[in-house]
């Protein structure tokens, strides 16, 4: 065991050589790279001085565009323009085919493969490959702006990313030819960016409200050691919801009745502009003017705050839940850090400040803070700061379990356990001469295996045949510092070993993790769950009725047979599952029907607008 080369702080064994290291925030919407230059973390800009790189890749004929250039192509060539790829990281074919119609591009699943690919004019690409393209551009940018060869990188991931999603991120780095020092949790990176490792000991809450997701994490600091105590959040809550709330206000204030996709887009843009200007101003002028509409109004800040208060209260509930997981009270928190563009909203700062009874830290640009922290950590890991005591200790975001008799999940390592961690379990054989057994590893909080996410099934083979119950098969589950699991197994009496590395064939969506976590809490309250289930059934029936009525009304007229078939298929899937499906499944199926019929709804609106206009012209002629 004397293999570990431990050197005392400050006594590095080799003469120090500076290594060029970069921190990367690989985001859903935007990505950034940062590095430590003359002791200070800075975000790296492109030749035009832009720091953000939109996480978008466009495949043009014989060419590839990234970032802003790719983003500009999105409206005209959606099928060859790949955005929000982070949502597909670590996800299997089944997940993607379920998402089907919500994706603006075409996905294909190669025969015999678990990994879905996106079809473009330049070929089919996996999420890992697309992410690698983004990483490559950021790495090139870094090398150019520093003029040095890149040694390694730290890439940030959401704290709740599961095994499959982390593995996919790791694979993307490998594919981009980058040496990955470490995957770093986004909230931890934010705390590092604020230099809290140099502060006194204490606990820190990181409140991260982005465009479409909300994350809350509680960290403990002790002499340069950061420890994630608990994480939580709501993966379908963000700044976009505030825009929608303002949008609804505009619609009712203006008395708009028929809202087509274009008007909706216009309203949302105006809403977002109003929200942004209300960060500084006490009121915002909003006007919606086109050929059919001419409305202007004023939204005062207190009114806006009334609109979004409910949304923000939900984030505070998630905060309290996470504090509970950490075993702390709000007043135990010593610092609160704000991350994500949406935290610029003054009400967010005051409500968060009120919950924690202290003023949140928001001096750094909330869009940059994660990349800056990653850069600092990369610098330490590269060995450029041999005296640094900074050490980041993480926890497992979701429990790992194995399937036992009756389809139950037996937790092996529970959520929020410090990693790296290993656990061993002993099994025995139940048949004479049995030489193999299979173990099904799942990730999630629920009791039933079917409610958790399957990570992998693996077979242990080659045990010496023994009488039933005589073999002692010791299975060890090892989770490394990046949160990735591997499994080893050994028959203890003979010492015969088999090693199995879990190759994740599935990935959870942020939403699934969130709903799985929430579901586990509701599990204890069956009555509430039952009510939610009933509500979803009612909602499902409503959707089915609406689709049926619409199809009878103008289905023949507005849809070709193929389109009609698509909608009917989704409607039937929902109708079939109505009695048997779980609440979550119902939600998903309802969403699928809504998404499959989106274009139909738009056409119906256009149609009714056209009819209305036609009617008016006739009236005018008559007059």
């Amino acid at each position: 065991m004397a293999l570990l080369q431990i050197s005392e702080p400050g006594q590095s064994t080799a003469p120090h050589q500076h290594r060029f290291a970069v921190g990367i925030d690989l985001g859903t919407t935007n990505s950034l790279a940062a590095t430590v230059r003359s002791g200070e973390a800075v975000c790296l800009a492109d030749e035009q001085g832009r720091k953000l790189l939109p996480s978008v890749v466009h495949f043009a004929a014989g060419d590839k565009l990234l970032g802003y250039e790719a983003l500009a192509m999105q409206a005209n060539d959606p099928l060859n323009t790949i955005a929000s790829i982070k949502r597909l990281m670590g996800r299997a074919s089944e997940d993607v085919s379920r998402l089907g119609n919500t994706l603006p591009y075409e996905t294909v699943i190669p025969a015999g493969s678990k990994v879905p690919r996106i079809r473009t004019r330049s070929g089919d690409f996996s999420a890992v490959e697309i992410s690698a393209e983004i990483l490559r551009v950021l790495a090139q940018r870094a090398a150019q702006s520093v003029g040095d060869e890149l040694d390694g990188v730290v890439i940030t991931v959401p704290a709740y990313f599961d095994d499959a999603q982390r593995q996919a991120t790791r694979d993307a780095a490998t594919l981009a030819g980058l040496k990955l020092y470490r995957l770093l949790n986004e909230p931890t990176a934010a705390a590092v960016a604020y230099g809290l490792d140099q502060n006194n000991d204490g606990t820190v809450a990181v409140y991260d409200l982005g465009g479409g997701t909300f994350d809350i994490s509680v960290l403990r600091l002790n002499k340069g050691v950061f420890e994630v105590l608990a994480t939580g959040g709501d993966s379908s809550l963000g700044g976009d919801d505030m825009d929608h709330a303002i949008g609804e206000w505009i619609i009712s204030a203006a008395g708009f009745v028929e809202i087509d996709a274009r008007l909706a887009r216009r309203i949302l843009i105006a809403a977002r502009k109003a929200k942004e200007s209300l960060t500084e101003a006490e009121s915002a002028e909003i006007s919606i003017a086109d050929r059919q509409h001419n409305w202007s109004g004023t939204l005062i800040r207190s009114n806006f705050e009334g609109l979004v208060k409910g949304l923000l209260t939900r984030t505070l509930t998630a905060c309290r839940r996470t504090l509970r997981d950490a075993g702390l009270k709000a007043t135990d928190i010593d610092e609160v850090i704000m991350v994500g563009g949406s935290t610029r909203v003054p009400l967010v700062q005051s409500m968060v400040g009120e919950l924690f009874a202290r003023k949140p830290m928001c001096d750094l640009d909330p869009d940059e803070v994660v990349a800056l922290g990653a850069a600092i950590q990369a610098d330490v890991l590269a060995g450029n700061k041999p005296d640094s005591e900074m050490l980041l200790l993480d926890v497992l975001p979701l429990s790992l379990g194995i399937e036992t008799m009756g389809g139950l999940s037996e937790k092996i390592i529970t959520r929020n356990t410090a990693i790296p961690v290993s656990r061993a379990q002993e099994f025995t054989t139940f048949k004479d001469g049995q030489t193999a057994m299979s173990i099904h590893v799942v990730q999630g909080e629920r009791e039933l295996v079917s409610d958790c996410r399957s990570l992998a099934r693996f077979e242990l083979r080659g045990f010496p045949p023994m009488t039933a119950g005589a073999a002692r098969i010791r299975v060890t589950y090892q989770v490394d510092a990046d949160g990735l699991m591997s499994v080893t197994a050994e028959e203890a009496t003979s010492g015969i070993a088999a090693e199995i590395v879990v190759k994740p064939s599935y990935g959870l969506t942020d939403g699934e993790i969130e709903s799985m976590l929430r579901a586990s809490m509701e599990h204890a309250r069956d009555d509430i769950e039952l009510r939610m289930h009933k509500e979803q059934q009612v909602e499902a029936s409503r959707v089915i009725e609406a689709i049926d009525a619409a199809l009878v009304n103008d289905g023949e007229q507005l849809l070709n047979p193929k389109e009609r078939k698509l909608i009917v298929e989704h409607r039937d899937a929902l109708a079939t599952a109505l009695e048997s499906a779980t609440t979550e499944e119902l939600k998903r199926l309802i969403r699928a029907v809504e998404q499959a019929s989106e274009f139909y709804v738009a056409r119906r609106m256009n149609q009714s607008v056209r009819q209305a206009l036609t009617g008016k012209q006739i009236d005018e002629v008559d007059v």
Binding site: M1, L3, L4, V380, L393, P420, S422, D480
Partner: protein, 179 residues
């Protein structure tokens, strides 16, 4: 330049006396000092073998920390390294008095759910449980120090029962608070 001796027990690893009474601050400081040496982040540029080893050692340190910081696990571990015969979890207690107390506590917890002043009642039960856990821990220490390992095993089990009720109560409190 030394890797830790994996044959040490957890108390030795952290440089703490092998006793139930615990200096938490010292435990935390020792854990972080050890992780500062052995955590994989400290071995990013080492060879594969050392990197794998550092994962194993860091896991072991985490496991040791988790065991010692929890009173029930700590009591069990103390018994384990003292060579006590520890029955598995399925063994039930034969102590009727304790059994009755448990049933009564569980019913009290359940009653909070329906009560109008549920949270207040929860608080009262919590105080009672804290007191009870303290008494059991004191008794455990007495037996353990008197070398009555069998008696100490029974008390460790009782502590575990009380901890489970504490967890149930905790769940309920958050439920009542609407979390």
């Amino acid at each position: 330049m030394q890797s830790p001796d994996l044959n040490q027990n957890y108390f030795e690893l952290f440089g703490l006396p092998a006793a139930f009474a615990l200096d938490r601050a010292r435990l935390l400081a020792a854990q972080q000092r050890l992780q500062s040496s052995y955590h994989p982040d400290r071995h990013v540029n080492d060879n594969d073998r050392d990197r794998r080893l550092s994962v194993q050692v860091a896991s072991w340190i985490n496991q040791a920390y988790e065991t010692l910081q929890d009173p029930v696990k700590r009591s069990r571990y103390l018994l384990e390294i003292s060579g006590a015969d520890i029955p598995d979890d399925s063994t039930t207690t034969a102590d009727t008095e304790f059994l009755m107390e448990q049933i009564e506590l569980r019913e009290a917890v359940e009653a909070c759910r329906e009560a109008t002043d549920g949270l207040e009642q929860c608080q009262q039960i919590e105080n009672r449980l804290t007191q009870r856990a303290g008494e059991l821990a004191d008794e455990f220490v007495d037996r353990f120090e008197a070398d009555d390992l069998a008696g100490a095993v029974v008390l460790s089990r009782k502590m575990q029962f009380i901890q489970r009720i504490q967890q149930q109560l905790d769940e309920l409190q958050f439920e009542l608070e609407g979390l």
